[in-house]
Amino acid sequence: MALAGSAGRLDFTRRTMIGQVTGLPWALILLLVLMGVIGLATLYSATYTNPEEVGLPAKQAVRLAAAFVILIAAGLVPLRWWLLLAWPAYAATLIMLIGVELFGFVRGGAQRWLQIGPIGVQPSEFMKVTATLALAAYYHKRLNDYSGGFLIHIPALLIIAVPAAYIFRQPDFGTTLALFASGGVLIFLAGLWWRVITTFLVAAIVSVPLIYSFVLQDYQRERVDTYVAQLTGESVNVMDDGYQIHNAKIAIGSGGLTGKGYMEGTQAQLDYIPEQHTDFILTVIAEENGFLATSGLLILWMIILGLGLMIAMRAKSLFGQFAAAGAAATVAFYILFNVAMVLGLVPVVGVPLPLLSYGGTVMLTTAACFGVICAVHLGKDEALAA
């Protein structure tokens, strides 16, 4: 793949190492660091009363530091290398996904984990990044000479649907949905006709009851049921997911405008919310810091994602545009799903909140996504050959 038409006076300084580092989107990175620190502080508050969880913030801090190293390292990888790597990475992740089906082990009721050496990995999480890159690479090649046909989106859909099918079978409903959502965003950005979009939306609405009856497994169906029950105000069974949502709402609602104070949340401290340090970490923030801080946190995320999208729009290459937009969309759907779930708007699907929830996998995915965005920022003037 040849480098085409990127000669300019600034290019020389950009290519030195120091030039590269200073060229990173530091505003974005600093906002991410701020988010990570907020996450650590919240995690400390959520775990300090439970003797079994005291070690978690330190562990998370190490992960956070490692994530930023990975982010910057990934950001410094030239964009053309990312383009080169997109297809092999996608293929490797797909093989791992199939491996999960063959050799994976079960954790938390679903088969999602693959043991590689000493660490357990979730290929489905990697797939969010590699599928985005593969889509970006695909559209980079196909749209360079824009022909605007409808059929070019069919292979794009397959790039998403094949791994999604495996992930759905694990079963991991949340990741499947996230994959389709961020992939869908890319297909939308690639100019899918509005009439197709409209048709699809109508079909989706029609298919909801069909999916419910014939596709979902019992435990998934129960989750949907509890969701509907609490939306319509029926008395929820105070167990399992209904219990979780119920207590999450109590914690959030009791936080009020300004919250009960850092480390003062009664619900969080009394373990009323299962998984409060992972998927339900937002309840701790909402209870202890109140509406102002929590909505501020969401606005902070909007700014971060907005910056990511701006980087995408400024990129010259289609790959850069799609990769950055896809990365931002991936992170955005994490946040949207998680917050909507914690606020009782969508069923509990088990999606963590990036940089805030305790856990390694989502941290790695987030770091990779923003690494790609940084790489796009550095390589925004490169017009990569198709």
């Binding site: 038409g5 749209l143 360079n144 824009y146 605007g148 965003v185 939308f188 950005l189 690639a190 100019g191 105070v238 167990m239 399992d240 207590n247 709402k249 109590i250 914690a251 959030i252 609602g253 009791s254 936080g255 009020g256 405008l257 009664t266 619900q267 009394l270 373990d271 009323y272 919310i273 299962p274 909402a286 109140g290 509406f291 929590t294 909505s295 969401l298 606005i299 995320w301 909007m302 994602l305 907005g306 999208l309 995408a312 729009m313 010259k316 289609l318 545009q321 937009a325 969309a329 955005a332 949207l336 917050v339 909507a340 606020l343 708007l345 003037d381 017009a383």
Partner: protein
């Protein structure tokens, strides 16, 4: 790069739309946040407070039962207990398997618990295992934090530190059955009924099933309260609020008049014999020992006794479940002769010095009655007749008296009525007369039957308690004595107030004769007169109760058997009544040895030894409850131990 492809503008346009939609979604989330945190804040704030605070029903501590010297007879025992709360446990079966990995919990029991959990409300505690060993309790306490819904706590249960000694007096407590609940909530409003039901569901709660435990239920129970707890989601208690206004009010302690040490010695003295003994303080009527042996261990009943163990007790031919001293009625045999003699003196049908010739038998109508001594006693006056227990003398005297006058004096002594002590059970026995027989048998009294009553046999039946009371009244020279066993506690209402005083002069005669029995030549219990205390002697009277086929105890057990046991069954009961010291009576005693044959041979030595023990222990010494009461303070369970 100046080339502007159509895709570039399209991408920008679409990206702006995507950003707009995304921003809209985020704004929606913030809106929802606003709804929960601002608009519905107050509602959730209340819920949050409720989430952590829980009122847990706290059962009252049941009052102790103590002896007259403050020794505990019924007390509390702390025992570890594992329970499960379905609401917090998630998968109950899985949680039980977790527990079974730590402590012994057989599959069958797990299934029983599962069944119980299914029937119980989701938020209620269901007992998994009671009475944990120390090791199991330690193990469970350590691991419980990892097992949601599993609660390990110290429960308080009833314990009877003296085991069998007071089984029949104390009775026992058990978990309230439906029958108990119906009885306990009799005459209550529906609300009270529900409260009682709730309270007795608590695993620590027991209710008295028999004995003092049942009689004094209200006194002992106390009032339920609440514990105000802050709990986390797993139901684990984070802290307990200090809420004295909610605390349960413990039940009151109750003192019995008995001396636990004397009771112990008396039971030991019986050895393998089965029988009953009652020791009474002549001055106060306090029952100092109330023995019925063999007995059951009330501790076995506290957590429910197995059917197999219960059957062992029920079908035991020595009737350990049966309170022989209170519920048992036996013909008094010759111990009744003082009553007959008193009746004769009161009616003036004989001069005490008049001698009646005993040839060894007595003819009346067409029948012949025998004296226990085949060769006869020769001419005997009243004193000698009692001392030697001459039957012929009493055939003649009772014939002269007639059954009505005999029965009247028998009632004066306290026979034929149930003495309310504050225990369950208690029988009146029978003092037969014409009216009684017409009622019970539908036929008139035959004069010949009077002769049997004259020597304490026939239809005559008395309880050991009544015999002790009779003896006490003779020793007290006719003074009215009311027996009691509850020293400090709810006061039992006497069924029939006893106000029939007896003539002291007649009683002195009886005393002299009873002294003769144990201390003069020809006395039937000469060998048992010496208490071995170097001075004071015993005065008493032997008796033998004819056993027709079935002993009273056997009849009561409802299990009448034959075969190889029949030999023992046919033997007579041995009786002995006595008071001591002979010159200044303080204690009265009655002893019955079931199938012990001769009163002088088996019952008298036992009575003598128990009496000696009572005097050695000074069992009638002032009880602690009167001492405490005199200082004006409340009664508490002081202990001498």
């Amino acid at each position: 790069m100046s080339l502007q492809r159509p895709i570039d503008s399209l991408f920008t346009r679409r990206a702006m739309i995507a950003a707009g939609v995304g921003g809209g979604l985020f704004a929606g989330l913030i809106g929802r946040l606003y709804q929960l945190q601002i608009l519905e804040h107050e509602r959730y704030d209340v819920l949050a407070d409720e989430n952590g605070v829980k009122l847990e029903l706290a059962p009252p501590k049941r009052g102790q039962i103590l002896d007259r010297f403050g020794r505990p007879l019924a007390a509390h025992r702390q025992a570890g207990r594992v329970s499960i709360i379905q609401e917090q446990a998630g998968n109950v079966a899985e949680r039980l398997r977790d527990v079974a990995r730590l402590i012994d919990l057989p599959q069958a029991r797990q299934e029983r618990i599962l069944e119980k959990v299914r029937r119980e409300a989701r938020f209620r505690k269901v007992t998994v295992l009671d009475e944990l060993t120390y090791e199991d309790f330690a193990k469970m306490s350590l691991r419980a934090p990892d097992l949601p819904g599993i609660v390990v706590e110290m429960g308080s249960t009833r314990s009877y530190p003296r085991g069998r000694d007071f089984a029949h007096v104390l009775g026992y407590v058990a978990r309230a059955s439906q029958t108990d609940l119906d009885r306990l909530s009799e005459g209550s409003t529906p609300d009270e009924r529900a409260a009682i039901r709730r309270l007795f569901k608590h695993p620590d709660m027991r209710t008295g099933r028999s004995g003092v435990e049942r009689f004094a239920e209200e006194w002992l129970r106390g009032q339920a309260g609440f514990r105000k707890l802050e709990t986390n989601a797993a139901g684990r208690i984070i802290r307990e609020f200090d809420a004295p206004e909610l605390a349960p009010k413990p039940g009151q302690d109750l003192h019995l008049t008995v001396d636990a040490e004397l009771q112990r010695k008396a039971i030991e003295r019986f050895g393998d014999e089965s029988g009953a003994a009652v020791v009474m303080d002549i001055e106060s009527g306090d029952i100092l020992a109330f023995v019925s042996t063999p007995a059951f261990d009330p501790n076995d009943f506290v957590n429910g006794i197995s059917q197999a163990d219960y059957d062992l007790l029920r079908f035991n031919d020595r009737s350990p479940l049966y309170h022989k001293a209170y519920d048992g009625t036996y013909p008094p045999g010759s111990t009744y002769k003082m009553v007959v003699a008193t009746a004769a003196l009161e009616a003036g049908v004989i001069d005490p010095e008049e001698r009646i010739y005993c040839p060894g038998h007595y003819r009346f109508g067409r029948n012949t009655w025998h004296c226990w001594k085949r060769g006869g006693h020769g001419p005997v006056n009243m004193h000698e007749a009692i001392k030697q227990s001459c039957d012929v003398y009493f055939y003649e005297v009772s014939r002269r008296l007639g059954i009505e006058r005999l029965a009247e004096v028998g009632k004066k002594f306290g026979f034929g009525q149930r003495w309310e002590l504050g225990l369950t059970g208690g029988r009146s026995g029978v003092v037969p007369n014409d009216a009684w027989k017409r009622e019970a048998r539908g036929e008139p009294w035959f004069e010949g039957e009077t002769l049997n009553i004259g020597i304490g046999q026939g239809q005559m039946s008395t309880s050991p308690l009544q015999l002790a009371l009779m003896t006490a009244r003779i020793a007290a020279e006719g003074r009215v004595i009311t027996p009691k066993i509850i020293g400090n506690g709810p006061r039992p209402e006497a069924d029939i107030p006893m106000d029939a005083a007896l003539d002291p002069e007649h009683m002195q005669r009886m005393k002299a004769a009873m002294f003769g029995v144990t201390s003069e030549g020809g006395g039937t219990a000469l060998r048992s007169g010496d208490l071995g205390l170097g001075g004071p002697r015993l005065a008493g009277k032997t008796g033998t109760a004819q056993v027709r086929r079935i002993s009273a105890a056997e009849r009561a057990s409802g299990n009448i058997r034959g075969g190889d046991e029949i030999d023992r069954k046919l033997r007579d009961h041995a009786l002995f009544v006595a008071y001591a010291p002979h010159d200044d009576p303080k204690y009265a005693i009655s002893v019955i040895v079931e199938h012990g044959e001769g009163g002088s041979r088996t019952a008298a030595p036992i009575a003598r030894d128990i009496m000696a023990e009572a005097m050695r222990l000074n069992s009638r010494a002032r009880p602690v409850y009167t001492q405490v009461a005199s200082t004006g303070g409340g009664i508490t369970g002081g202990s001498l131990e």
